[in-house]
């Protein structure tokens, strides 16, 4: 078969050449491997990284989005390694399949910062993340305090709580739920309705409507994320019962959860920090050969109507 | 004394209640070409299929090289040295030429698992050289789909001969070949004869029959009419055998036919040409001119591949605006460009395949009847169901359609009634010119005559009717004029008084063609 050979070779050379980054002297190139940009929270993470890096002209960040495909993220990490980045920041989709490429990068001498979701083992420079379990527990503790103030509960009735879960095959949802339940152990609280709303607002609304139809009295709704809490609020509002229910969510993005708190939709939302800014700052430290901690747990804030203007309140 | 390769004795075949072959005997000697001739439906294809092992159940015996055999499947037949080159090509487009030729007989190594490409190529190359098929080694490696139809024919032949067959059946092998290629095929046939093969050759074309045949056998209505050496069976005899003496005597115009009077031409086609898709292929219809007057019924007679169907499709605009020549309806020139435009100009076309292209079987009868007239019946785009129902009921009465209700699904009707629904659809468009392709196909005898009566009364009302039919009695009984087509060209025009079955069939087979191709 006579295939045109010359253009093919030309294309191949161009492809290989374009994969290598132009190295300006004095500039550090950081690769950011994000598992997906479908969740607004991850969009926020990338935005935080971008904003933090903008303040440092000696840093250049290259973003790659794996669109929630494990194999694609693996390939993208390998691409970063092959093109010789100075540092790699990665937020992996899953731990096990992405541990080998991350470890490979680390062993080749590229510093690795793992953000938000873990890899297995310890072949990385630093892990930065928040602890979903602690956040869930804090939410549960806060909920208990608020529930104890309700007149019905003061008179001895058990509080009635609805839990709207995130996608329960994902670790964040499992951890948030587990923390919440841990805080509620032994307390006079019944979780009268539980449903998996898969992090989606319309689904949360559907489930809340069912809960409202079945339960005559609901005291508090705990949703694993703010869109879920908002969907539940809309359902309660349509039924005219929103004033009787306390709504609690997690994420506390400035344009979402915090706004809802300011508008009186949510009674409280718990920040799940992205860690983008911290990652960039620690990346600079690493590149300047300063030492950093191996495990960094980000602190979280709670936003309530009282403190939202002031930027929330740090937990513990 | 040459060997007798093949002896078929008293072969019979029935499909349900339908007897297709009745006690046919046929033999074949080494080194001869034995032509098998007959009209459509005479039973030729069925006989060949029995020989090829496609119909293991049949009456009669098959004797090959002295042994009586019954083939259980085509593979057995081919292993016994019988090779059939069908009309429909059986090549795999995406495979190479060499792979196609060796299909089913691949060269294999290591216990039959690994494909030995080189051995295959060499074997095929040797075969092609032996048959003078002019394929280079590079050609053999290219994919079959890259070659035009005529070359694919040659590949098909090579494939049939790759297994060292001794009995070779060729079914209309020249239908897509040009003059030079036909000559090469005939040279190949000589080559095969010289090597001791026997060839059964099926064709409609007079010029070919007398070019290649050593002997001719004619089938009619499933029976063998006669077998003779080519020299002892001149064309008139051949045609008489194909049609049958009794039929020729039976034909007579029915009483009470309206007298032919002077007519104004309603439909005129001048130098009409229908091209074939693809480069370098001869047109389906070439330079046809016909004028049909109001009240006239003109029939078109042609054998397979003559171009009758393509003519009507082209005139109706089914192919788009690709045809050459001029068409006029009632004096005003029209350009055949789309079915919708043709319907608006008063042209209607009943296709030959009602299930495939004539009716929407899933829709009700009344919706099928109104389908071609919707634009006229719904001026503001809104349907008028009452109007549709009464239209359908009118035609149910006029055509005698048997059904439960006009709301019934059309697929539930019998074939003959379905044909009437299709006819009703076109009559509902109030056409000026009616093109009918096989209007009585699959219709029982009673209904046939009803349709004939209807067509004559429509003609009497002033419609111009053009008709394709493969049933000679139908053409002869119905039409004022008959046009014979052969290979896309007009080979004969016969007035009612001058038309006889022999003449029409001869013209359709190309016998009277001035070129004698």
């Amino acid at each position: 078969m006579t295939t045109p050979r010359t253009p093919f070779a030309l294309l191949l050379t161009l492809a290989l050449a374009s994969n290598a980054f132009p190295k300006d002297a004095g500039k550090w190139v950081v690769g950011m491997s994000q598992c997906n940009l479908g969740e607004p929270w991850r969009v926020q993470m990338n935005a935080d990284v971008r904003r933090a890096a903008a303040a440092h002209p000696e840093l250049e960040v290259v973003f790659k989005d794996a669109q929630n495909d494990t194999l694609a993220q693996r390939a993208q990490i390998e691409e970063f390694v092959n093109s010789g980045v100075d540092l790699l920041i990665v937020s992996p989709k899953e731990a096990a399949p992405l541990t080998p490429p991350v470890a490979e990068a680390y062993r080749r001498g590229i510093p690795v910062i793992v953000l938000d979701r873990r890899v297995l083992g310890s072949d990385y420079t630093e892990f930065i993340g928040a602890n979903n379990r602690l956040i869930g527990k804090a939410a549960g503790a806060w909920a208990l305090r608020r529930l104890a103030e309700l007149p019905a509960v003061r008179k001895g009735a058990r509080a009635r709580v609805v839990e709207l879960q995130g996608l329960m095959t994902s670790i964040p949802a499992q951890d948030r739920g587990a923390g919440f339940h841990e805080a509620l152990k032994g307390a006079p609280v019944d979780i009268v309705y539980t449903a998996d709303m898969k992090w989606l607002e319309p689904q949360a609304r559907l489930e809340m409507e069912s809960a409202l139809a079945v339960q005559p009295r609901i005291d508090l709704v705990f949703a694993h994320n703010d869109p879920g809490a908002h969907g539940a609020y809309l359902a309660a509002q349509a039924a005219g019962r929103e004033r009787d229910i306390i709504f609690v969510g997690i994420d506390a993005l400035a344009q979402e959860g915090q706004v809802y708190v300011r508008q009186g939709v949510l009674a409280a939302t718990f920040e799940y920090p992205t860690g983008g800014r911290e990652a960039v700052e620690d990346a600079l430290k690493i590149l300047r050969h300063e030492s950093v901690e191996k495990e960094v747990t980000l602190r979280s804030r709670v936003f309530t109507p009282e403190n939202v203007a002031g930027g929330g309140e740090w937990l513990r | 004394m040459p060997d007798k390769l093949l002896q078929l004795s008293n072969i019979g075949k029935r499909f349900g209640a339908n007897r297709v072959l009745d006690s046919v005997s046929f033999d074949l000697f080494a080194g001869e070409v034995h032509v098998l001739a007959g009209e459509n439906g005479a039973g030729k294809t069925t006989l060949i299929r029995i020989l090829a092992g496609i119909y293991p159940e049949h009456e009669g015996t098959l004797e090959l090289g002295g042994r009586i055999i019954r083939f259980r499947n085509p593979i057995e037949a081919s292993r016994h040295g019988i090779s059939v080159i069908h009309q429909e090509l059986s090549l795999v487009d995406s495979m190479s030429v060499a792979d196609n030729i060796c299909l089913g007989r691949e060269a294999a190594r290591a216990g039959g698992l690994w494909l030995d490409r080189r051995a295959q190529l060499e074997r095929v190359g040797a075969l092609c050289a032996r048959l003078d098929l002019r394929f280079s080694l590079e050609d053999l490696d290219r994919r079959a789909e890259q070659f035009p139809l005529s070359v694919k024919n040659r590949i098909e032949i090579a494939k049939a001969l790759a297994g060292d067959a001794r009995v070779i059946v060729m079914d209309e092998p020249t239908s897509a070949l040009n003059h030079a290629e036909v000559e090469r095929l005939f040279a190949l046939i000589e080559n095969l004869k010289g090597r001791g093969c026997g060839i059964i050759y099926i064709t409609h074309k007079m010029e070919e029959i007398y070019r290649v045949a050593d002997r001719i056998t004619v089938l009619r209505d499933g029976r063998r009419v006669g077998t003779a050496a080519a020299a002892e069976c001149p064309p008139p005899t051949l045609i008489r055998w194909m049609i049958g003496r009794d039929l020729a005597e039976q034909f007579a115009p029915p009483a009470g036919m309206p007298a032919a009077g002077p007519r104004a031409p309603r439909f005129v086609a001048s130098h009409f040409t229908v091209p074939r898709p693809g480069p370098g292929r001869p047109p389906a219809v070439e330079d046809l001119s016909i004028a049909v007057g109001a009240g006239e019924i003109v029939g078109f007679a042609g054998l397979q591949g003559a171009g009758c169907s393509e003519l009507f499709n082209g005139l109706f605009g089914a192919y788009g605006a690709v045809c050459g020549g001029r068409v006029e309806i009632d004096g005003e020139p029209v350009l055949p460009e789309s079915p919708g435009a043709s319907i608006r100009r008063g042209l209607a076309f009943l296709t030959g395949d009602r299930k495939g292209t004539g009716l929407v079987l899933g829709m009700s009868v009344e919706r099928n009847v109104s389908l071609a007239s919707l634009a006229r019946m719904s001026p503001w785009g809104v349907l008028a169901p009452g109007l549709e129902r009464s239209l359908a009921e009118h035609y149910v009465g006029a055509l005698g359609i048997r059904l439960d209700s006009v709301g019934q699904e059309t697929g539930a009707l019998s074939g003959g009634n379905q044909q009437k629904v299709a006819l009703a659809k076109w009559l509902a468009t109030r056409p000026r010119v009616l093109l009918l392709e096989e209007p009585t196909r699959g219709v029982d005898v009673g209904a046939k005559h009803e349709i004939y009566r209807l067509l004559r009364s429509l003609a009497a009302e002033g419609l111009a009717i053009l008709l394709i039919s493969t049933e000679l009695p139908e053409l002869l009984g119905l039409c004022d004029r008959i046009v014979a087509l052969h290979r896309g060209r007009v080979t004969g025009v016969f007035d009612r008084s001058a038309a006889t079955p022999e003449r029409v069939l001869a013209a359709a087979m190309g016998a009277d063609s001035p070129e004698g191709n």
Binding site: V43, A213, V214, H230, L234, A238, Q255 | L371, A375, G381
Partner: protein, 328 residues
């Protein structure tokens, strides 16, 4: 009994039978009488309305023998555009709504042109539009939800008022007994019904799906009919996107993911044949209610997610098997 048999032989009868079957299940598993309260039914209708609007457009396309995989993505695209025009830029509904419908129509016509003019298979053509529209939605919205929180130049967020259109669409009328989006859904059903049964072009859709070549040779403008079907599907997707945005109070570029599968399921469970040429939007309405009730019953009984998925799959299969025509 014979009338019952005759009734079962019609597709509407079978669809109704499937729906009654599901309702019976609901009466048995009524979650402490929740199934007998009108609010539950009203909410079910609200929830299924967006899917039902998509299914109306899908029905038109299925009747022509095609399929439209892009309806979910076009919904997301239109939700984004509507939120941007109406919420962020404060355009009045009389301007925003027609603009969004035009966007949906354009997407539908593009798919239709690919199918009708360029003879691309509907599955492939609408798959391409599905991917393209989703990407366009994300690009227009910057990857974020177009919500009431609008980022100011100084980085803070202002909370915008909800436009009247949003409030009116998400409201309930007639004494709070019917959601407005349910009325929009029923309006779409009525419009589709008129097109399919009363208009000449509706007949063209059936003929094209039943036997395209026979239709073409009978003078049916097959290309234009297909363009109409896909174009209307795009318009319905836009309507669904507007309703979705109103109910979420935001334009989410991720809205509508996998909705096309639910729309197809609704059409098929109702009894429309994917081969084309038969069926109608009445069947779609019955299918929407069947699927809506199924989901609602599982929800009020707080059935676990894994069981829900398995039960839904099994019941869809059972409903379709119950519907099979005995071929004449």
């Amino acid at each position: 009994m014979r009338t019952l048999r005759r009734w079962i032989e019609r597709p509407e009868g079978r669809a109704l039978f499937a729906l009654l079957f599901i309702l019976a299940i609901g009466c048995v598993f009524n979650a402490h009488d929740a199934f007998f309260r009108w609010g539950t039914h009203r909410d079910m209708l609200r929830q299924v309305s967006v899917y039902g609007i998509l299914a109306c457009g899908m029905t038109l396309v299925i009747v022509t023998g095609g399929i439209d995989l892009s309806v979910g993505s076009v919904l997301g695209l239109c939700a984004v555009v509507f939120a941007q025009l109406s919420l962020h830029r404060g355009q009045p509904a009389v301007l925003a709504v027609p603009a969004v419908l035009a966007v949906g129509a354009a997407a539908g016509l593009a798919s239709g042109a690919a199918v009708a003019r360029f003879r691309i298979q509907p599955f492939i053509a609408t798959l391409a539009m599905m991917v393209f529209a989703r990407g366009l939605a994300k690009w227009l919205s910057g990857g974020e939800k177009v919500s009431r929180a609008l980022q100011q130049p100084d980085g803070s967020f202002a909370y915008l008022d909800l436009p009247g259109a949003f409030e009116r669409l998400d409201a309930k009328v007639w004494g709070g007994n019917v959601a407005v989006v349910t009325l929009v859904f029923l309006g779409c059903v009525a419009l589709s019904w008129v097109v399919l049964t009363r208009l000449r072009y509706g007949r063209y859709l059936y003929a094209t799906g039943g036997n395209e070549e026979a239709a073409r040779l009978s003078g049916v403008p097959v290309r234009r009919a297909k363009l109409l079907a896909y174009g209307l599907s795009g318009v319905f997707s836009a309507v669904a996107g507007i309703c979705q945005a109103a109910q979420e109070q935001q334009g989410d570029p991720e809205a509508g993911v996998s909705y096309e599968l639910t729309a197809i399921a609704i059409a098929v469970i109702g009894g429309n044949s994917l081969a084309g040429g038969r069926g109608g939007v009445g069947l779609t309405l019955l299918g929407a209610m069947t699927i809506g009730y199924l989901e609602k019953i599982l929800s009020i009984n707080a059935v676990a997610e894994s069981s829900r998925l398995m039960l839904t799959g099994a019941i869809i299969l059972a409903a379709v098997l119950l519907q099979r025509r005995r071929v004449a």
